[in-house]
Each structure stands twice: as structure tokens, then as C-alpha cells.
Symmetry: C2
Subunit: 207 residues, 2 copies
DNA sequence: CGGCCCTGTGTGACTTTATCACTGAACCTT
DNA sequence: AAGGTTCAGTGATAAAGTCACACAGGGCCG
């Protein structure tokens, strides 16, 4: 159960060796995997749970850059691991997560000895780069009401979601007031109901 | 003269082998290294010149994501090379450039056999990821007049620059009208003079 | 040379988004 | 029940994006 597909691709002796040196770390909801400025301790392999990565700009505003889920790799850490620079973003655990922390030495060894491991790392990097490019486009050109709508739409399944307007503003990289006003408008249209710290889907959403 | 530092780190037999299989490709100003949707032919190592990478969103608007110069690696290509997906962005040559195109097979071999090569690739990836994160923050939170000012400031040395308002809008991911109005304002303040397709620095800028 | 056309720029009117400064409501604590 | 803290609502104003169109510079061609 506690495994990560990128380790499963390793040839048997190497896989054993890697797993023997790693014990899963448990992170609870709300805990911080790393903060802006922290030095990198190793490459986190996310086994389960979800972790959001967000950054705070010079202006003091924050925006969520991407999320990691089961079987994900914290690609952002690789650069820090290599250059020794600190993180520019922070990683906040949303759903309780378990993580393998691969230290620099082991990472180098796996990169050296397994083509599949290298492939996994590269693919992960590629996906992250793509995600960020799409985010740039979204932030630069898409309208806020559409973006908010899509964000909500992706979470309709849950019926009710627990989030404050401020947190939602960070998700989209905008101001709380903007989110409040748009939500009010959605409520007027009968798409949802607003409560303190909660949004309940109705009407069109609750299909 | 025609060399790339990531190849110079290779141990001697490998370096000779790599170089013997690569001939520099010449790209002129305005030519396209790759377009959105193109399959990836190999990993471009930029020897000299400059190349801008920009993407066009669903909305039809474009934005410049980053630039590559001498000794740079087109990190974006690695993801495409690995997954076989097409590019999401396009690369336009600004100053005439020469490029080594490393084919998949050689790339795999270099990744397999040289720790320094791996390090170079990883560092490049890390930098690109950082750049994009900063771009997200900039687009999301910084004011347009500041961003335009900084863009111009970075090019003051040239005295006069040749660029249309439309191109400048793509640099910043905004609309031409916005650029035109801001430039007019800078002109009123005596910072620069506008001519058709040109901007001449004066006053504060021409210190 | 004058007329034509294409590209680049200027501008007004209007919408959307961001910012600022508050008010008030909901919940928690004691 | 009182007081404090966090969350949400709102008006006023500024910044940025959108739309529609006028006009200007420069090249080309009859």
C-alpha cells in the first residue's frame, strides 16, 4: 500500500535498497511540507493525500500554483536540491498525506542507475512545466467569473465544500472581495448557496 | 566557438562522440524553432543568439514566457521528447541563433553516462520552473505600468528600441491599447519619445 | 506625383477587476 | 451574555481589458 510507482519501476536489488532507506513520513491536514526560503531536505514522493503548492508575491498576495496527489513527485524540490537554493513557494497539506523523502545521495544514485527513474522524473518535470504555462495563460487572459465557475464545477461532486472566500481568492490569485461578489452573483442566479465558510451547490450544479 | 558548456563537461571519449554526431543548425531572425503542436525533434542546445518562447491561449492572446540565450537549454523540449506530446508554445528566433539539436537516442545516452550532464539538465529545469513561477506572480499581482517600466528599463542601454505596441503587449500579456496608453503617459512625463515602431529613451531613462 | 492600401497608433465608451475603507454578521471563548 | 475574532458584504474609486472606429505613416503602383 505504501508505495510509489517510480520506485516500483526500479530493478529488484536497487528497489529493495531504496525502500529500506526510506520510511514514510506522515503529514496531517494543515501541516507544512516546506516554506518559502527553506533549504531542500530531499525529494518528496507523495504516496497519498493531497498537497497544494502556493507562493506569495512581493505584493503579499498568494496564489496556488498546483496540487500534488497520490503517486506525484514534488518536482519543484529537484531544482532546490540541485542548486541548494531555497524554495520560492510553500507546500501545505490538504488531505493527510504520507511522503517518502528521498535524500540527495539516493536521488543521485537512482538517477545514475535507472533509466526508468530518469524517465519518471523528466515526465513529472514536463507535466509541471505544462501546468505552469497553462496557469500563466489562465491568469493573464481568462475572466475571473469563468475561472471561479470552473474551479467550483470541478468540485461539484462533493455537494458542499468548506472554504472561505479568502482561501478561494488565493486559489485563483485574486482579491477576496472579487470572489465574494462573484459568488453572490452565482447565488442570485440560483447556482449555489453561500454560508459562512461553506458553499452548497444547487440548481444547475446539482445535476 | 561553437560549443555548449553542458557538452564541455562530458568525459573526453563521450564528448567527441556527441560532438561528432551534431552539426550546428543556423536560424535567422524571425524563423521559428518550433510551433505549437509540433512534435519534438530533439533537445535544442542554444549556442548563441536569442530565442523567445511564447504561447497563445484559447482566447487567441499571446504572452512571452521566457527567453533563451547563449549556453541555454530548451528545457521545454525535454518533456515533449519524453512523452511524445506536441509543444504547447512556439519558439521564435530574435537574434540569429545557432543550435545543436540533440536527438532522443543521444540524449538518453548522455543522461545515462554523465552525472554532470544530468546536473546541467536538472538545473536548467529548476531555473525554468522558477522563472515561470515568478511570471505567474507578476501577471497575477503586479501593475501594468510597473511591468512595462521594468521591461523598458532593462533595455535602456540600446538607446532606441524597435518594437511595435502590439509586440510589447505580447511581451507583457496584455492588450495593445493598454500599452499605447501607458507609453503615451510615459511620453507626457518626458521619459521617452514614441515613433512608429520605435521607442526612443530620453530624460530619466537616458541617464 | 497622387491615390491606394496596409500596418501601426490614438481615443472614447464601457465592462471587468483590483483596491480601500468600512460595516455588519457569525462563531468562539470565557 | 459580553467581548473578541474571523468571515462576508458593499460603496467608491482606480486600473486594466474590450470594442469600435478614426486616423497617420510609409510603401507601392499606375
Amino acid at each position: 500500500m505504501l508505495q510509489h510507482s517510480i520506485l516500483e519501476t526500479l530493478p529488484e536489488p536497487l528497489r529493495r535498497e531504496a525502500l529500506s532507506g526510506l520510511q514514510p513520513l506522515h503529514f496531517e491536514h494543515g501541516s507544512i511540507l516546506f516554506r518559502a526560503g527553506d533549504p531542500c531536505q530531499g525529494l518528496p514522493l507523495v504516496l497519498n493525500g493531497t498537497v497544494k503548492v502556493q507562493m506569495t508575491g512581493l505584493s503579499g498576495h498568494s496564489i496556488v500554483l498546483y496540487r500534488m496527489g497520490a503517486d506525484d513527485i514534488c518536482t519543484l524540490s529537484i531544482g532546490c536540491l540541485m542548486t541548494g537554493d531555497g524554495f520560492r513557494a510553500e507546500a501545505v497539506v490538504e488531505d493527510d498525506a504520507e511522503v517518502f523523502m528521498v535524500p540527495r545521495g539516493l536521488f543521485d544514485r537512482l538517477m545514475d542507475q535507472s533509466a526508468d527513474f530518469r524517465l519518471g522524473i523528466m515526465e513529472s518535470y514536463g507535466r509541471r512545466l505544462n501546468d505552469l504555462m497553462l496557469l500563466v495563460e489562465e491568469v493573464a487572459f481568462r475572466r475571473m467569473d469563468e475561472r471561479l465557475f470552473q474551479w467550483l464545477e470541478a468540485r461539484v461532486g462533493q455537494g458542499v465544500i468548506t472554504i472561505t472566500h479568502q482561501e478561494l481568492a488565493v486559489e485563483l490569485g485574486t482579491a477576496r472581495e472579487v470572489v465574494s461578489r462573484l459568488l453572490k452573483e452565482f447565488e442570485r442566479k440560483g447556482l449555489l448557496r453561500i454560508a459562512r465558510g461553506k458553499i452548497e451547490f444547487t440548481g444547475w450544479f446539482a445535476s
